[in-house]
């Protein structure tokens, strides 16, 4: 065996496993979506026609992607300051912060989701506080709203952004920040021109994970979002598990996959551009 072939041979078992357990089912899913009837006896484009020529389905796709983008924005807004605080902290506090960041991952997503019902509910913690302080006369409606869903998804998905961000932040040479300051840059300028561009790859990876995870967060979307907020994962579940219309469920699933992948490609491309730009600036 030549040396060039060796790495391929080593990767072959994983490659074959992917082909068998990921690519093949995906192709089957695609094939199912091209059946016309529920019992899958004939091929045709009926399901795709039904999905694409209905404005309600487009609204569901748009709502699903928007939910992901809002969650990414909210997560970024909280994660970046936290990452900066972590960078400035002593090793002890760094460890403590890291533990706090990872902690949500140690509980099941179902538990975290139901905990948010207790926090956001009509008689929940937030409303008790708001009513107790006299900030509102009636309980706020937080559960079953998009705002409540974004708040809870932000907490649930936060580790996915913070972990790659922290690992990139840890590698940034502290001398670069000092150099920027000694050359007269304000802290804000240093943040936007030095730190964030250098952390771009971590930010992009984190955003990508948060986006993919929040757009497909079936449990949180159904339990916290409720029946009035319709997203693609719930639609796939309804069609597959309740209506037993697998071709239409497969169509919605492929639509979810394609639309989420498209946005992920854009985020990844932006991350590469920013990282390339940062590299050019640092080395140029």
């Amino acid at each position: 065996m030549t040396n060039k072939a060796a790495p391929w041979a080593l990767a072959a078992p994983l490659g074959l496993a992917y082909a068998a357990f990921f690519v093949a089912p995906l192709l089957m899913l695609l094939a199912v979506s091209f059946h016309t009837d529920e019992r899958m006896t004939a091929f045709g484009l009926d399901q795709w026609r039904r999905f694409l020529f209905d404005s309600f389905h487009w609204k569901v796709v748009a709502d699903t992607l928007l939910l992901g983008l809002k969650t990414v924005a909210a997560t970024l807004l909280l994660a970046v300051p936290l990452a900066l605080a972590w960078r400035a902290a002593s090793p002890f506090w760094q460890r403590a912060l890291l533990f706090v960041v990872i902690m949500p991952l140690l509980t099941s997503v179902v538990v975290r989701t139901f905990a948010w019902i207790v926090i956001l509910g009509r008689e929940g913690l937030v409303n008790q506080l708001v009513l107790g302080l006299g900030l509102a006369a009636d309980p706020l409606r937080l559960l079953q709203t998009e705002l409540g869903l974004v708040i809870s998804l932000t907490q649930i998905e936060m580790p996915l952004l913070l972990l790659p961000l922290l690992s990139v932040m840890a590698r940034i040479d502290p001398n670069l920040v000092d150099a920027s300051a000694s050359l007269g840059a304000s802290p804000w300028r240093t943040l936007f021109r030095v730190l964030l561009p250098l952390a771009a790859s971590g930010l992009a990876a984190g955003c990508l994970l948060v986006f993919a995870s929040s757009t497909t967060a079936f449990i949180s979307q159904s339990v916290i979002g409720g029946g009035r907020l319709v997203y693609l994962p719930a639609m796939v579940w309804q069609q597959a598990m309740v209506v037993a219309n697998w071709p239409f469920a497969a169509t919605a699933a492929v639509a979810l996959l394609l639309s989420v992948s498209a946005v992920i490609a854009v985020i990844a491309h932006a991350g590469r551009l920013a990282a390339g730009h940062a590299g050019a600036t640092a080395h140029g």
Partner: protein, 343 residues
């Protein structure tokens, strides 16, 4: 030095062993074993705990459970083409009709059950037998709202602003919305009046939830009145929630979750012993207890005082629904509900 056993032969043997390994995991076709599909979660836990041991003790039959949702049972059977993946189905009325239409059941002979006489008439038919009943009506928090009289009340003050609803995704949700439609002039096949009234009341309704989220929403005070089954009411009451079951003026509704023997089952005798065990008095008694709170199908089980009937025979008065008419319409109803309720 050449290996005493060629490497290729060794690899070949290892591969063959690997390929045959899954076969070892397949169910044995010995007469004294039965494989039954069961809903994942509470049902699986209940059957493992309360059905498997007495079945082994009384009939020396081993029970293997396959946790599968109703849709998965039908799909898995359809995919197996002639070699049933399990001996028994457990299904709700909707999927039961689908499976009957697709010829997935052996004919069921209730006379083969030793305890047939303990089951009320109507529990068993030519296709299977009920193993748990559900009684559907209205649940309310007596500390927050007065007792509602019927489904029409749900959309009136003071209930409407405390009402939690769920769509056609579950059997209890579907029949409740049918009953709501009937209260406004609709029927089993015409749910438009319910959707129209719900749409009008929508801005005031407290919660539109996923079925699985409803008990949590009620417990947290997000809603104080909802349509549901007695099982949910008992479970919440056991947790200390203020909740009562109200029988609507038009009557409570009921349906059975049923057991069926799969077409081509290799162990029909063991399957009958399994079914007999599930509907037997001690098992039904155990399943009625916390935390499962099933409504029993065996007359000899003294009913929980919280249930809205004194005997199982009283249930003959309850509303039932024809799922052969509902099934073809339900997919459309689910989509209509999504559209009408969407923000």
């Amino acid at each position: 030095m050449p290996h005493p056993i060629p490497r290729r032969a060794l690899l070949g043997t290892a591969a063959a062993l690997g390929l045959s390994a899954p076969a070892l995991g397949q169910r044995r076709s010995a007469a004294a074993s039965v494989t039954s599909a069961v809903y994942p979660g509470a049902w699986e836990e209940a059957f493992r705990e309360h059905v498997a041991p007495p079945l082994k003790r009384a009939h020396n039959v081993d029970l293997e459970l396959q946790p599968l949702f109703a849709v998965d049972q039908v799909a898995k059977f359809a995919a197996s083409r002639g070699a049933p993946p399990f001996d028994c189905f457990v299904l709700d009325p909707g999927p039961r009709i689908t499976a009957i239409e697709r010829g997935m059941f052996e004919r069921f002979d209730a006379a083969k059950l030793g305890n047939r006489a303990q089951l009320p008439p109507g529990t068993a038919d030519e296709w299977g037998v009920g193993c748990a009943a559900q009684v559907v009506g209205i649940a309310y928090n007596p500390k927050k709202v007065p007792k509602p009289g019927g489904y029409a009340d749900l959309l009136r003050d003071p209930w409407v602003s405390r009402l939690g609803i769920t769509g056609f995704g579950t059997t209890f949700g579907t029949i409740s919305l049918i009953e709501l439609a009937k209260a406004f002039g609709g029927s089993e096949t015409n749910i438009e009046p319910a959707l129209a009234e719900l749409k009008k009341a929508l801005p005031r309704i407290a919660a539109v939830g996923a079925p699985a989220a409803m008990p949590g929403l009620f417990q947290q005070g997000q809603c104080d009145v909802m349509y549901t089954n007695t099982q949910t009411v008992t479970t919440l009451r056991d947790r200390g929630v203020d909740i009562e079951f109200a029988v609507p003026s038009t009557g409570a509704s009921t349906f059975f979750t049923t057991l069926h023997i799969a077409k081509g089952s290799e162990n029909p005798e063991a399957a009958y012993r399994y079914v007999e065990t599930v509907v037997s008095r001690p098992v039904q008694q155990a399943l009625m207890g916390a935390p499962f709170n099933f409504v029993p199908v065996n007359r000899e089980v003294p009913l929980d005082p919280g249930l809205p009937m004194r005997s199982l025979d009283d249930m003959a008065r309850f509303n039932t629904h024809d799922w052969s008419k509902i099934n073809p319409l339900r997919g459309g109803w689910i989509e209509r509900f999504n559209r009408e309720m969407a923000r």
